[in-house]
Symmetry: C2
Subunit: 490 residues, 2 copies
């Protein structure tokens, strides 16, 4: 910024990019983060705070004069951190992780430092090309067919999260369908998913103008391991076609939220092809595991898929946010999302990522992801996944060996679903007892679990996935659960 | 992560959050960024690279073994940085800035370090409450009516960018309208904007299912300073109503992309109220300036507005990404965007930000924005805006004083629009000469300008806004332009 006669009686010249200050202050922040990581283990995972606890402690208005970084960090430490749920705690098992790493953190830092916007190739060429490289790398890591790679005629993009990725594919599929049946037919369009599909598909479909009643959640069954059944899908499509409706999109999942279930991609793909539906696969969590050869069979039939997404920030150490989306034929997406503005002159030969996503502006996520892959290498990323799965196996074995507990569904990936039960209690009370167990564990602050009500059963979800979780945390968790159970069902 | 017998023959145990390593490597990255900032001035703003230049230099597949941070940074330095357009260069004037600062950078670092996800209040209470505080602070800084503050019954949210914010308000307005006229009437809904409105409104409207022909760009005129004319809006609405259509949304702008024009908010608001349209104000760039009292008159009538958005990452030093969105009645937004999932138990008294945005997951942007405001104080942020405006005034005066140039439209904020002209040349060639001038300046690498074709006129947009730009850069830019012009129109 330029120099101004200071109109605000500010004593010093303001230089928001002072190099010396950056060096000093960045050390303060890094030290703060390091200390935070070091103390995470001992912090209550969920804070015991009441609504409004923080609002009441901070000033109503922004300060006119600046404060020092030391002062700011001390407020963060004293007022903000105690009110956080610590997603990076080794004792956090409630949701699929937001997995952090040093390389992810420093990749974010570099992304912020360079602060370029690659909305078109020409608006920062290396940003676009590095993203092309990274999405191809990851496609190969997952052993996706080459048709999903730029080098094979397809391509991919890094978005913030699955919700955005799903929204974009829904819009592309909608427009493709409307081109066929007429653009006044939106009310006839039908989306399919299962009752286990993440709610983002409902939200995304509503956002693009599909009425709630046109979003069909196909019921899954225990006999079928809660997978979306291809025959049920076919029946639903046929019945809708007979009713004069226009089926256009189906979403399958690799690793559902509640149970970690993997839908049968190949069989669903055949149905989708039969009726010319757009087939999207949401691999938000489970997709990451497919970098390990032993999980790649889940992707059998992925050549029948139009688009597939995966959140690297869940299990591939990329820190928030980073969602991969690949397509075999990106043109449908581009046709739907391209918007021209004469101040942005695109180069038709090159990828202009503004046409691959909702927004114009975008962060340089590719450099972060590239740094994570390069710093750790595929080998370590595979080891990271395997280590979590191995700890989940260990945890599942301990639960299964204790007859007060029931594994409600066999473990998938690193997700263990169990409930408390007791021969002394009618089965109808299991849910109540399990809920009680979860709440006592959570309120101890020593661990954080989540629960799901599925039909009449309430069960606990325990995900192993924080980058700081080690075997001893899993063992302590199990001990805590056992002791707590003892106080509920003696 | 846990310990595994290494299946990949990796020699060391993998610890992605090693504290010592973080300390050492973060210093390397900060030094890299500092050095980058220090050399920015001398780097060609736009790289002279050909499509494919980077792809060809990087391996086709991800490495199996990790590499050192030193190796990675040297590749960034040698291969990637030379292919970037340097948005932080003091000589970058092509687009509205992506304004960086130390506090923005370190706020991002802290956000990544804490890596919590506040999708509901309970998923990380302090994250939600700090965001409540920050959006209220900024609302007060802009002197918005208290009805936009949580403390006054309204509220706000931090999203990634304007495109997301606009999309969400469009969906809320659509659903409100459909509730009134019936949910099978989407094909009748009409959106209004001007031919100067950012294309994000077209993209957003198409995304939520509005047909292109139902997005009405009202033509603006020079006589009316290219503002969206309230009477023209009223006429368009009446005519559409007579045709049986359903007008539902209008977008005004504070600081249009091409010319920085401010639409008449109060008069447009009256029209919107008259016909019960949702009125959104896009203050992506110009909105920031309203922290300065001398610009706040642009917000006159904002009490008639349903929602207003502003990108702090454009001019308020927050680094990418940070877009404020405020609403007087957030309920319409929440009703449209809320999606329940039984694994997310919300607390109806508290703000669950998943219901204020497209996505479930979200970064902790509030801590970054809070750090920027706190570190610099409102006084310095005001000074930052004023300093850029003052440099733009200086630049405009120099251009105006040279009779080879024409200011095509009076400066707004820190945006100067001008063209090259010559008495020796028929006016018809001005556009060609101006384009030639821009291309020569840009290809010199010494500065980066953008151009707009508006009707038959092509002109150059010069935005002052990089945090590193000082008076001497503006003076050098002018000298460069003059010398280049000399070679075109001697």
């Amino acid at each position: 910024m330029g120099s101004l006669p200071s109109p605000n009686d500010l004593s010093n010249t303001f230089n928001p990019m002072d190099f010396t200050e950056l060096s000093t202050e960045s050390k303060l922040v890094v030290d703060f983060i390091t200390q935070y990581y070091q103390t995470l283990e001992t912090r209550p995972v969920q804070p015991r705070v009441k609504p409004g606890f923080l609002t009441g402690q901070l000033p109503d208005e922004a300060p006119f004069h600046g404060e020092s970084m030391e002062e700011i960090l001390s407020i963060v430490n004293e007022k903000i951190v105690p009110g956080l749920t610590h997603w990076q705690s080794p004792n956090f098992h409630a949701y699929f992780p937001a997995s952090s790493s040093n390389a992810g953190l420093l990749g974010e830092l570099l992304c912020s430092g360079l602060s370029v916007i690659g909305f078109t190739w020409s608006s920062s060429p290396a940003a676009t090309e590095l993203e092309n490289v990274v999405v191809d790398w990851m496609a190969k890591m997952l052993n996706l067919p080459s048709s999903f790679c730029f080098s094979g005629g397809g391509g991919g993009v890094l978005q913030a999260n699955t919700c955005e990725a799903v929204l974009c594919t829904l819009a592309a599929a909608r427009d493709k369908a409307l081109n066929r049946v007429g653009d006044d037919q939106i009310n006839k369009l039908i989306v399919y998913c299962s009752d286990q599909t993440h709610f983002t598909i409902h939200k995304g479909a509503k956002l693009i103008g599909i009425r709630s009643k046109n979003i069909k959640s196909i019921t899954t069954h225990r006999e079928n391991e809660f997978k979306l059944c291809p025959n049920d899908l076919r029946d639903a499509i046929r019945s809708d076609l007979e009713a004069g409706l226009v089926p256009f999109y189906v979403c399958g999942t690799i690793g559902t939220t509640a149970l970690g279930v993997v839908d049968p991609i190949k069989e669903l793909g055949k149905v989708a092809r039969e009726f010319d539906l757009w087939f999207h696969v949401d691999g938000a969590y489970g997709g990451s595991a497919c970098i390990c050869p032993e999980f790649q069979h889940y992707l059998d039939g992925v050549d029948l898929v139009d688009s597939i997404s995966m959140n690297a920030h869940k299990w591939l150490l990329s820190n928030l946010d980073c969602c991969f989306l690949w397509l075999q034929s990106p043109n449908a997406l581009i046709e739907s999302l391209a918007a021209e503005a004469n101040f942005l002159k695109g180069n038709s030969e090159m990828v202009d990522y503004k046409d691959w996503q909702i927004s114009l502006s975008r962060r340089f996520r590719a450099i972060k992801m590239w740094m994570v892959i390069r710093r750790y290498g595929v080998g370590n990323l595979i080891e990271h996944i395997r280590s979590d799965v191995s700890m989940a196996v260990r945890f599942e074995e301990m639960v299964a060996a204790d007859n007060r507990f029931v594994i409600v569904f066999p473990r998938n990936f690193a997700l263990v679903c169990f409930k408390l039960t007791s021969g002394m209690t009618p089965q109808g009370r299991d849910s109540e007892l399990t809920r009680e167990l979860m709440e006592r564990v959570n309120s101890s602050g020593k661990a954080y679990l989540s629960g799901v009500q599925m039909g009449r059963i309430f069960f606990i979800r325990c995900v192993i996935g924080s980058s700081l979780t080690e075997e001893r945390h899993v063992d302590n968790l199990w001990k805590l659960i056992q002791e707590t159970a003892q106080s509920i069902v003696p």
